[in-house]
Amino acid sequence: MLVGDVTQPLSAKAETPERLEQYAGMLDEAFWFAAERLALAQLDTLVVLVADRGQVFDLRNTPQLHVFAGEDIWGDPALSALGEAPRPTNFSCDADLATFISEELASHGFDISESRGTFEPLGDPEHGVGAAFVEPVMRLTASAGCRVVPIHVNAHVAPAITGHRMVAFGRALADALALTPKRVGILASGGLSGDPNGMLAGWIDDVLDRWILARLATGRSHDLGTIFDIESQGLRGATGEVRLWIAAGAAMEQAGYAGRLATYIPLHHAAVGTAFMHWGGSRWP
């Protein structure tokens, strides 16, 4: 479904049913591990960085940076094309923190779009916020029980926000969160390289992915700022969502944490380079 009739790279042949079974196990384990860490962190709120794919926004309004400051948000991640039954899910939001973050970011030169009150998805009023938000937040916060602040970043509609700006945004986000007494975590959901349903669906730029992950693991999110300074077909599609990782990395580095890679799979059948990285625990020396 994700790759359509796009000619696949030779490496995709290695993804036999047995290998895919193994990958599924690795991903389940990564999710379980991340959820456990999140629960141990005893967060009040989880800030979720995510890129919209025409569900929350549409041609009428596509913000570059958007903070949802309502009381709750909902979405249905079910894939009707796969025969999945509807699974509408609600998430309680931390409107106060969202309002605070918006104000702080705006005061530091970020032109934040915002939503207040009832969640009104423009692009897909029936299904709400996309699966990139619903699936991981549902799995990761099931036992953590924290509220969320959804922050949407434009990664898919040209002209999209630059990588340099995501570095600055991440740092400013960390500075804002440092001012609150709440225990807050950040989740970036999206990427890495890939173009699901696009012209390069199934092709993974594992070289780029590994370079990005290496930079984040060594506290150098700043180096990622130039990625979107060039035009390349390899930077379209899900690869644009690397912006979320840049922001998360910059934020956590600003807070004094190093990234640690848990899992990376250049997963052709998912049409994206799939990685789990976490920050926290010990700070920089």
Binding site: R60, L65, S102, D111, S113, E114
Partner: protein, 330 residues
């Protein structure tokens, strides 16, 4: 050719009424139940008649100046008041870059009769259609994002069921009076202004926006003019309705006239009941001033007119920055 001319004006609803009765009806609608300041009582029929005359002359001056500049397109900085957007979707900066015309309603004379005419019920009389320079809008959008402005993208007009919300009044109300011809295409650059949101551009950011507009437009071959639509101080329907902040307005205009827009960076650097609500629309003037200053440092605006019209709840101003094409080329 790029940017070479700038102007700004108020667009208060009273400014499009020509009778004392019309102004009174607008006051009653926007007074918010306030009795207003003592000066309000002095605004009798004679004063209002002079406001009407001065308004017509001021808009005519802006139109003459803009016509003389002969622009290919006009970038309009304007706020949105629950027209294209509401609290559910509230951009801080947004450019509409679609190909469809903007269709809405002006209110010229709608308050001069009792009961007042509702413009959306008389499209043949009040209808306005504005063309959009789609190409320049895309150019500006891409350039501003590249320069670090988080401009929301709009390529399709919001379809609101309520016809009152067809288009921002900051566009469709004043533009028929200032455009050399209604066919002149515009680029709407919408700014968050009146929403009492703490997440909003401060004065410095507005000035930076103006400088960036000049930079981005410098690669365009078009003759571009800027227009800030909104302000000056006002709080319609709010607790300060009628209490025009005349010292603020005059200080702002003084900076334009002196060619010292950098001093306006202090505006909106703190929160105050006096700088929120409609007064937030002064934001639309700041990028124009900064843009003209970027083209030719120290450029002094001509303040065409200003009056504190309590009955309109608005400090009403008009200004233009002269044609700076030659300065830029030099």
């Amino acid at each position: 050719m790029a940017v070479g001319f700038g102007m700004a004006s108020s667009h208060a609803p009273s400014l499009f009424a020509e009778t004392y009765g019309g102004w009174q009806r607008v006051w009653e609608r926007f007074s918010g139940g306030n009795v207003g300041p003592p000066e309000l009582a002095a605004e009798g029929p004679e004063t209002i008649a002079s406001f009407v005359t001065r308004t017509a002359a001021a808009f005519a001056t802006l139109r003459e100046q803009l016509t003389a500049y002969a622009p290919d397109a006009l970038i309009v900085l304007a706020g949105d008041q629950n027209e294209w957007f509401d609290a559910a979707h509230l951009p801080n900066l947004m450019i509409y870059a679609g190909e469809d015309d903007i269709v809405g309603f002006h209110n010229f004379g709608s308050d001069d009769v009792e009961p007042r005419l509702l413009p959306w019920e008389h499209p043949e009389r009040f209808g306005v259609r504005l063309r959009v320079d789609h190409e320049l809008a895309e150019h500006l959008l891409a350039g501003l994002v590249r320069e670090g402005f988080d401009v929301a993208i709009s390529r399709k007009l919001p379809s609101r069921e309520d016809p009152r919300r067809a288009a921002p009044h900051a566009l469709v109300r004043p533009l028929p009076l200032v455009l050399p011809t209604i066919e002149l295409p515009i680029v709407p650059l919408m700014m968050k202004t009146v929403e009492r949101s703490p997440a909003i551009l401060n004065g410095e950011r507005c000035l930076e926006l103006g400088r960036a507009i000049v930079s981005v437009c410098s690669t365009s071959r078009k003759r571009i003019a800027l227009y800030g639509s909104g302000g000056l101080s006002h709080d319609p329907s709010g607790p300060r309705a009628g209490w025009v902040d005349e010292p603020l307005d005059r200080w702002v205009l003084e900076q334009f006239a002196n060619g010292t827009p950098e001093r306006l960076g202090a505006l909106y650097s703190f929160r105050s009941g006096w700088t929120e609500s409609g007064t937030g629309e002064i934001r639309t003037w700041l990028p124009v001033a900064a843009a003209m200053d970027a083209i030719s440092p120290g450029t002094q605006a001509t303040v065409v007119d200003y009056f504190a019209a309590r009955k309109s709840t608005v400090g009403c101003g008009w200004a233009f920055w002269p044609d700076k094409t030659e300065a830029r080329v030099a």
